[in-house]
């Protein structure tokens, strides 16, 4: 049964956020007998409540609290108050994610030493290696039911995948398949298998796609050591005179401020909210925000080099049928500077329904050039580009000087400029994807600009030395022993792969570390 802890209980671990990082950490700790309170800003919607409707689901799940944007990225112009398409709900963005679960490549943990010095890029090697991460990747894959691992079959390919595969074959790409997906290809873990419904981004109504909402969280609750408190927006982390954190202040479901005491605090609110909270927790002792002696909190914001290519054919495709991310080409994920950029990118099929296609194909576009594209919606195939972007100090989350949210907390501003490497990579990917669809007989292709960011990374980055980053190799802040970061904001660099598997693996590893440090009474 789910636990219920007193606000004054200072023995609990408080986790802020219930997504891939927070939800996993919460369950892993609860399984070890550690008492945990997860504070989640959003409401709790179970999977039968999800809506097969893009705008309806967006209203139900998306984080739509106002943010501001700046920088040369097109999102700042088209969606000035929606820099990210992420979730405010129990389960966080694991309700919305597509399910792609890829391990990082060895060199992606060592970008500074592999790519060398790149002007305008704040590259740094991770303080962990692939070899150290491998056992945790294996645990995460087993937990999440990743297809193509542990003997689980890959998902069958849908129409969109078949077009991608035909193009990949024509271009001579070798590594093209239906992916490593945290979507049940067979019934397992008391959950359904994929029914090829589409609407993966709107929350899987079958529960076939892994989400902390209906895996980690109920399992943690069943131990009696985990309480999830929805509608609880944390606005400040408190500390004592010695600098140790002592609890958090949050606005409860009625907007009333409460303080939950804590032995340990772990921040997992995604890469915009996590630094926002650390910065907003500034005090006389920590005038630049918590854990910010390096000045790196909020900096090095990464969002992956993304973009889409949609193509129209003279015959029907019906790309929206079946899994949204139905297949992948990995050949371009390698590091090969002869292409004119460092790092690599993946091609993954993607589909939007008609309402979101209208909103995202060419934001602001109108007239016949735009509408004749939609006229052939059922003849469209599409893919998404996801590649490594360069960390830059100037790309950062800051607290807005004037604007505050409903609880009086300054809203976040998200600044992003593409690095020339990002632009070169995106252009290369547009060209390759266009050639791919042309090879299958596309009559028209659309290089589609990046959507509001779904992969938000790097704003509390991991570093060997305290001066280079915010947290150590366990996600523990360099400055404060009992303060941790448990989401993608820990990422030192972004790699080409979708981040969730790595976030989950880091959370499993972090739970071991926290539990051992608690037993050793060092925190």
């Amino acid at each position: 049964m789910a636990a219920s802890f007193d606000l004054k209980n200072d023995g609990v671990v408080v986790i802020i956020g219930s997504g891939a990082g927070g939800g996993t950490l919460g369950n892993e700790l609860a399984q070890k007998g550690v008492d945990v309170v997860i504070l989640e800003a959003g409401a709790r919607h179970e999977y039968e409540d999800f809506i097969n409707d893009e705008w309806g689901s967006f209203a139900q799940l998306a984080w739509t609290d106002k943010r501001t944007t700046s920088g040369d990225w097109r999102v700042a112009k088209d969606f000035p108050n929606l820099p990210a398409w992420i979730v405010k709900s129990v389960g966080g963005s694991t309700t919305h994610w597509a399910g792609a679960s890829l391990r990082f490549q060895e060199h992606e943990f060592k970008t500074a030493s592999t790519y060398g010095k790149l002007e305008g890029a704040n590259l740094l090697d991770w303080p962990v290696t692939l070899a150290e991460m491998e056992p945790y990747y294996a645990k995460a894959e087993a937990k999440m039911g990743v297809t193509g691992t542990n003997g689980w079959p890959r998902l069958p390919g849908n129409n969109n995948f078949k077009v991608l595969k035909a193009g990949a074959d024509k271009l001579g790409y070798k590594e093209c398949h239906t992916g490593n997906m945290a979507i049940n290809s067979v019934e397992r873990d008391d959950r359904n298998s994929c029914q090829q419904t589409g609407f993966c981004f709107q929350g899987c109504k079958w529960g076939a796609k892994w989400s902390t909402l209906y895996t980690e969280i109920p399992k943690g609750e069943a131990t009696g050591h985990l309480e999830v408190r929805p509608n609880s927006m944390v606005i400040k982390i408190n500390h004592d005179a010695s600098g140790k954190v002592t609890g958090v202040v949050y606005a409860d479901k009625d907007g009333k401020l409460q303080e939950q005491k804590a032995r340990i605090v772990a921040v997992a609110g995604n890469s915009i909210e996590s630094p926002r909270l650390l910065l907003n927790s500034q005090s006389a002792k920590f005038p630049h925000g918590l854990a910010n002696s390096s000045g790196q909190v909020g900096k090095n914001y990464m969002r992956h080099t993304t973009g889409s290519v949609y193509a129209i054919f003279d015959k029907p495709v019906h790309m929206y049928r079946g899994t949204t991310m139905a297949g992948i080409i990995r050949d371009e994920a390698r590091h090969d500077p002869s292409r004119g950029f460092v790092g690599g990118y993946e091609f993954e099929t993607l589909s939007l329904g008609l309402p979101f296609m209208a909103a995202f194909l060419n934001p602001g576009g109108w007239g016949r050039s735009f509408t004749t594209a939609l006229d052939h919606y059922d003849h469209m195939a599409g893919l998404w580009i996801v590649g490594e972007d360069m960390p830059r100090e100037e790309n950062r989350i800051t607290l807005h000087k004037d604007e505050k949210d409903a609880h009086g907390m300054p809203i976040a501003d998200v600044h992003f400029d593409d690095h020339p490497n990002d632009t070169a990579m995106r252009d290369h990917a547009y060209k390759q994807a266009t050639a791919l669809y042309d090879a299958v007989g596309a009559t028209r292709t659309f290089p589609t600009p990046p959507y509001p960011s779904t992969h938000n990374l790097g704003t509390n980055r991991m570093s060997e030395k305290a001066q280079d980053g915010v947290v150590n190799k366990h996600g523990q802040t360099h400055d404060i022993k009992n303060l941790f970061v448990s989401d993608g904001s820990q990422f030192t660099t972004g790699a080409a792969e979708n981040p969730t598997l790595t976030i989950v693996s880091l959370a499993i590893r972090q739970a071991e570390y926290i539990a051992s440090q608690m037993s050793a009474k060092t925190i």
Partner: protein, 176 residues
Amino acid sequence: MVTIYDGKPGLSRRELLKRGSIGALLVISGSAVINPEQAWGLETSTLKPETMATLIQVARDIYPHDQVPDKYYAIAVKGHDETAAKDPAHKELIEKGIAELDKKAGKGGYRGLGWEEQRVALLTEIEKTPFFQTVRGGLVVSLYNQQEVWPIFGYEGESYSKGGYIARGFSDIEWL
């Protein structure tokens, strides 16, 4: 093309047809825009019905889909009448925006311009204005989020209740 007969209400369908127009006809009658051909009408409360009729044409010119009947464009813009009823500033934005377009169009007004290109040229001149951006931005959702238009584009919408596509063609492509 949309032809508008201003003036006396109650024009019969026969009379309209006698006047030699073909295709969809929008008729202003009292406070309503009526399409006798397709049997629908749109009552306005705050905006002038003539304004609404022009707005429907503007909506089609911004997002032209020849296979989508006027009815759905009318539904897509009717929210402006509702907003205008609550917000005088919005009423002014729309009325002035349309009046400006009519003025630019000269004699006969915006709806009097026979070719889409002529009307689009005027829209292009004003595409940076708050009026245009408000109308276009609203349409992206209000036009394309109508479930009734989805089948016209071959989009099937909700699929969970039908058991997904696992037995309904998720991999039925045959031409590759």
